[in-house]
Amino acid sequence: MSAVESPRKIEVFPVIGLEVHAQLLTRSKIFCGCPVTVGAPPNSATCPVCLGFPGTLPVLNREAVTLALRLALAAGATLHRESQFARKNYFYPDLPKGYQISQYDRPFSTGGSIAIDTPEGEKAIRLVRIHLEEDAGKLLHDTPYDDVPENVSLVDWNRAGVPLVEIVGEPDLRSAEEAASYLTELRRLVRYTGVCDGDMEKGSLRCDANVSVRTSPTAPLGTRVEIKNVNSIRFVAKAIEHEIERQAQSLARGEAIVQETRLWDEKGGRTVSMRSKEEAHDYRYFPEPDLGLLVLDEKWIAEARGALPELPRRRRERLATAHGLAPQDADTLVSARELADYYERVVAAGVPGRLAANWVTGEALRWMKERRVSTEQALSFSVSPERLAGLLKLVESGEISAASGKDVLVAMLDSSTEAAAIVAEKGLGRMRDTGALEAAVAEIVAGNPSQVALFKSGKTQTFGWFVGQVMKKTGGRADPAAVREALTRALESAGP
């Protein structure tokens, strides 16, 4: 439970609940066969159904339901065998029918939770419900065209009818950081389950936050303010932080909090009022007469359950336990399903778990970032997990040093050559030529008479210095044990 100090010294305890919309990864829209597109010409992916022409009827996309079920199962929610679609009525140009088909009092899923990590340990954020609905179109206010008058807005209905799930969380979050963790976990979950691409910038994952504050952690909930229009996890945290502070200052001045909707203004770094409760909509929900009940049977639910992968938190736990990984490393590895797959393929190729984790979360991830390969694209990184494994086996056996390994990895980035071949070609492998080692040792011993004298006088710690010199001379390629042996012999036989 965190308290925020406002400049006027009123201690407030925030209560936050998030409503998240996730665009489902179907190929066609939820109630018509129009393709779900990205960047298609305006209104090219529309039809009389999603344009709301009279006389058209919606037909439910089975895959949209299957994906929604998968997410609900992943969140441990209760599925309802019968649920109902409802009309949410409001007028806006991005909504051709004058209503949005959504679910209201009979959603297909209630309950469930999303676990987050807090300094006090794991915390379950309960879900009120998950329901299916259709998206609205997009309005364009500032257009790139010269011939568009100032007093109009342009509308693209390509997005109208794209399937969404709305995930409504209980107000269980107590700080902006918890809200950010919740969103991070939820995004990870929708990506793992293949339900949504989780891209907040493109709007396929959108978040509204309900924020209220109270003056004691047990006081009744305060008046809540809804924040809309936030398109990254970082901004959600900033917007909530700012809103908590704004409400705290209002209370400190003795003002009441007004129930309203506010928009996050990233440029101004503040929220601005959009509409107050008096102007709030009355959506006049009623059952959608053009659709029957959504009836789920065992087979359908089993199908959705069958497509569930190992979920991120469980996978994190398994990897950490199986390979003795640091929690932070395990967390990084499961941040994307594909990165965890990459790691597990390195291990499957015979590399010890910890060595593999060090390299995947270290050098490999660094180069992926450098090359703009996202963690979701880890499996198409130019150095495949099997090639990285080839390199790491050379490091593990001591054939090459870790430092040489990093150089070899760089050489592998733009070639398909195996690590062993690069090592051989560049002569980075362990020195097998004992003659060359003996020569290097002899040269060092002969070239440093004063150090030899020190050693002879009993300063045995100088031995380490000699080892270092020989390693340097051989470019780190000599076997340290062989170096010690050769040095011991050389120093014994050295004069005087």
């Binding site: 529309t46 568009v148 509308v155």
Partner: protein
Amino acid sequence: MTSERPVVTPAVVLEVAELARLHVPEDELSRWAGQLSRIVGYIDQLAAIPEQAFGGSPAAPATPVRPDVPRPGDGDRALAANAPRRLHGYGVVPRVVGAGS
């Protein structure tokens, strides 16, 4: 299923009209209130009939589903034939700023 007979007052008519973006002249409010009261009253009368009178409710029909197969919808043409104004393929509406839902 019985409910108190709702009375549609002129205030209710005004509120509904506003939500529907309809203009109802002041002097017509009471006429609308009277007519809507009669309609709502009729619905209430129907609701008061015991369910058995209909021979029990049939099993609720499951909504049909279709496979997730995209196909062109020809919306462009439907828009061209029906939209009052278009620019660069977009629909054109009076400028609105804010958010819908």
